[in-house]
């Protein structure tokens, strides 16, 4: 899609969104209690992309745009955006009459400050999303002109309240952003105002009476409850104490049961396409048993991805078919690659290792390896145990290691002291935002979490990644990513396993909360209780 076409779609979507909303008559009032798991450390969504912060932050802070379930841009703080012919000047026309929760007006200076001083500096992904933004001009209070070094089409996919929340300049300016008080006393422009944080129990947000969108929000109060025990969370959902639980706060097995047994409880996999999570194995390509790409390809060939989805995640997920998620197919950036069989082929994998000269010893073992598992619960442990069995069948004797989160992060992303590592990454709404960090030589950043821990470095690939980042033409871009996927299917520094489908479990009493592709990371301004 050409950028100009893209823009007209944006405008049309805006028209539909406004027109459609007026026709509905929703009941106002009531409290929405939902699960936040685990308790967030702060509410500084501009510093951390941590999941629980994402559940609360976008209710308090707005972004410039939101994205509907088809991925189309929906105006929020920006009413429209114009991209110049050369793609290097992006002009945002900001909404008028918006105020912060403390009464101060929201202006283009806030946008300038947020992007240049906050997101580009302290946000985990901001430096990537806004890499090309050299400066922002503010000709008047409601216009922000982004001056880019190169075209950056992916930037327009990173403007949601979760990914790039707009923060108040007057409360942050001149302070150390990371330790500013705003983190625990958030002041945004969003539909809900922060009221109370009872540590260990809940965070309460109340309706923002002067929200810019007429008649919104419908709900008077939002309470995010913290319940550490999984069975208790499921019971709370079952009893109707909580109405909404996203990101598998209620485990798949319980979600499937509740969906079946309870008329008023439903599940959905919508609301995660912008997150785009991918389960995968990272390999140490510099040391240990997996320095040869043949072995990595053999492992990818042996694993029965569909079996893992069916048994461990109760059918929710899609087998990976490439380094890029099939969710990118909509933008032409995905193609099925070899060595990604959905159901696994042990014989072929054995053959590959035989041909490469890896002999089995008398115990049928070709090599030994240590397998680190992401310490995020038993699903991953089960997954690791399954893979351990499969690799045993192709002569790779692996030992499992399951540590606490800080130790594991340090081992993989700081010390590189691992052979293979079970993990999942968010591929996000564009490969530039979520995938490049995995493979680029410049992403071998010792001590930074969730980047290129394989230490895979390929000058040819780096050049393609750079080209893919700047290419404004969709067709050319598709061709570039085709090449990238081919290289990655051959070298496989990372073996993708399956596209995770997170489940949102909700009480059917809650309506109107499902219109954004940001899902649980959206504002809930349109949500109401029936």
């Amino acid at each position: 899609m050409k950028l100009s076409n893209f823009m007209s779609t944006v405008m049309m979507t805006a028209a539909i969104a406004f027109g459609g909303a007026a026709a509905l008559a929703q009941s106002a009032g009531g409290s929405l209690v939902f699960l936040v798991q685990p308790e967030p450390p702060t509410m500084a969504g501009y510093v951390s992309t941590s999941g629980p912060i994402g559940l609360l932050g976008p209710k308090i802070y707005d972004g410039l745009f939101d994205y509907d379930n088809d991925g189309k841009m929906v105006p929020v703080l920006a009413e429209s955006v114009d991209v110049s012919e050369d793609g290097k000047t992006v002009t945002f026309n900001l909404r008028k009459g918006v105020t912060w929760h403390d009464g101060k007006p929201f202006t283009s200076a806030d946008v300038q400050f947020t992007i240049m001083e906050v997101l580009k500096k302290v946000h985990p992904r901001g430096p990537n999303s806004f890499k090309e933004v050299n400066s922002i001009d503010t000709p008047d209070a409601h216009t922000a002109v982004f001056n880019l070094g190169n075209p950056a089409p992916y930037m327009l996919r990173a403007l949601s309240a979760y990914e790039s929340p707009m923060v108040p300049k007057h409360l942050l300016e001149g302070q150390d952003i990371k330790s500013a008080k705003l983190a625990n006393n958030p002041v945004g422009t969003g539909p809900f105002k922060f009221t109370e944080w009872k540590k260990g129990q809940y965070i309460r947000l109340d309706k923002n009476e002067s929200y810019w969108k007429e008649g919104r929000p419908y709900i008077d109060r939002i309470v995010g409850r913290f319940i550490p025990d999984a069975s208790t969370r499921a019971a709370a959902m079952e009893k109707g104490e909580v109405l909404y639980a996203a990101y598998n706060a209620v485990s798949n097995v319980e979600a499937v049961r509740l969906n079946k047994e309870k008329d008023n409880i439903s599940v959905t996999t919508d609301g995660y396409s912008m997150i785009n999570p991918m389960a995968l194995i990272e390999f140490n390509t510099k040391e240990g048993p997996f320095t040869n790409a043949v072995v990595r390809r053999a492992i990818s060939t042996a694993i029965d991805r569909q079996y893992m989805i069916d048994t461990i995640f109760f059918g929710y997920g899609n087998p990976a078919t490439s380094a890029l998620s099939s969710n990118f197919a909509a933008t032409g950036l995905h193609a099925e690659m070899p060595h990604y069989p959905a159901t696994g082929d042990i014989a072929a994998a054995n053959q590959m290792l035989d041909d490469a000269g890896y002999k089995k010893d008398s115990d049928g073992v070709r090599m030994k390896a240590m397998f680190d598992l992401i310490p995020y619960g038993e699903d991953w442990k089960r997954g690791g145990q399954y893979i351990q069995q499969v690799l045993g069948e192709i002569g790779i004797d692996v030992e499992l290691r399951y540590e606490d989160v800080p130790t594991w992060l340090k081992r993989v992303y700081h010390n590189y002291d691992f052979d293979m590592n079970l993990n999942y990454f968010y591929q996000l709404s564009d490969p530039v935002l979520g995938v490049h960090r995995h493979y680029g030589t410049n992403m071998i950043r010792k001590g930074t979490h969730f980047v290129n821990s394989s230490r895979y470095s390929n000058a040819g690939l780096d050049a393609l990644l750079g080209a893919g980042m700047k290419e404004p033409n969709a067709e050319n871009r598709s061709a570039i990513y085709m090449e990238i996927q081919k290289i990655l299917a051959r070298d496989m520094p990372v073996v993708n396993l399956f596209e995770l489908e997170f489940l949102t479990v909700y009480n059917t009493k809650l309506k109107g909360a499902y219109g954004s592709s940001m899902g649980a990371y959206s504002s809930f301004a349109d949500a109401y209780l029936d």
Binding site: A230, S231, A234, S251, V253, E254, R257, Y307, D310, T311, I312, L373, E378, K381, R382, G384, Q385, Y386, Q388, Q389, G392, E399, L400, R401, Y402, E403, D404, T407
Partner: protein
């Protein structure tokens, strides 16, 4: 030996305990024969109920045989219980023996050290130790040993205090025997009975601690154990009750059996009860 058995068998529940324990040991020893496959081996039949698809006690979420897990887990539980107990008794006896025999400053130092360990709640301490080391079968054994030995040290110290001034010990002194020889060859055999009793009960505690650790996800992910099975199946209790129910029963009856045997040993070895006959 005969009289010992007579006294032991007078306690009917102790005999029952011994019988059950024998069954568990038997099951552990033939686990590899009846279930030659790895207990972690997945299958195409996840969440089959007991008796369905050829699974005697059902299968778990990735189709692993619960019965095979219990049989192989018995080996793990018993082995951990036994090794941890032996190690704890060994350390406890040394600490207790020296503290009780020498008294004074040695006693003070050793007992203060023991108390440091005793003041920390044992299960919390075990969790801490395993979390610091990486979860593995060795770290679990070490953790259980570290939290178990102080009780033995206390007991042995008391026994040594009581025995060290008795005539037979005095006689050894006059004969010119060395301290270590007196401790190990003369006093220790005389306080063996309470050590055996406390040791047998410690095996049961060790099995419970191991299960608890595995339940909290701190077990060795490479080794099948009952605690692991329960922790794995807990979240599916409403859907597949059998995954954690059967290992739970296994823990219950094994620990019960060991406790009954311990009680029987206590009866049989207690000299005061002996005189009553």
């Amino acid at each position: 030996m005969n009289s010992f058995w007579n006294r032991f068998s007078r306690n009917k529940s102790a005999v029952l305990g011994l019988f059950i324990l024998g069954l568990v040991v038997f099951m552990a020893s033939i686990a590899g024969l009846i279930y030659p496959d790895d207990p972690f081996l997945y299958s195409r039949f996840p969440l089959s109920g007991p008796g369905v698809n050829g699974f005697l006690l059902g299968s778990d979420s990735i189709g692993r045989d619960v019965a095979s897990g219990i049989a192989h887990g018995a080996k793990t539980s018993l082995l951990i219980g036994l090794i941890a107990t032996l190690a704890a008794v060994f350390i406890g006896v040394i600490f207790g023996a020296f503290a009780g025999y020498y008294g004074g400053l040695v006693d003070d130092v050793l007992m203060r050290i023991t108390e440091v360990f005793q003041t920390i709640p044992s299960f919390v301490f075990a969790i801490l130790l395993v979390a610091i080391m990486k979860p593995s079968i060795e770290s679990v054994v070490i953790a259980i040993t570290v939290v178990s030995w102080p009780a033995v040290a206390r007991l042995v110290r008391g026994e040594f205090l009581a025995l060290k001034n008795r005539e037979f010990v005095q006689a050894c002194h006059t004969l010119g025997m060395g301290d270590v020889r007196i401790m190990m060859a003369e006093i220790l055999p005389n306080c063996l009975s309470p050590i055996i009793v406390i040791g047998s009960l410690m095996v049961a505690t060790a099995i419970l601690i191991e299960s608890g650790l595995a339940f909290l996800g701190l077990g060795d992910p490479n080794v099948m154990s009952w605690g692991f099975q329960i922790s794995d199946g807990r979240s599916m209790l409403r859907v597949a009750w059998w995954i954690c129910t059967f290992p739970g029963i296994a823990i219950l009856i094994t620990v019960l059996a060991i406790n009954l045997v311990g009680e029987g040993l206590n009866d049989a070895l207690n000299p005061r009860l002996r005189e009553r006959n």
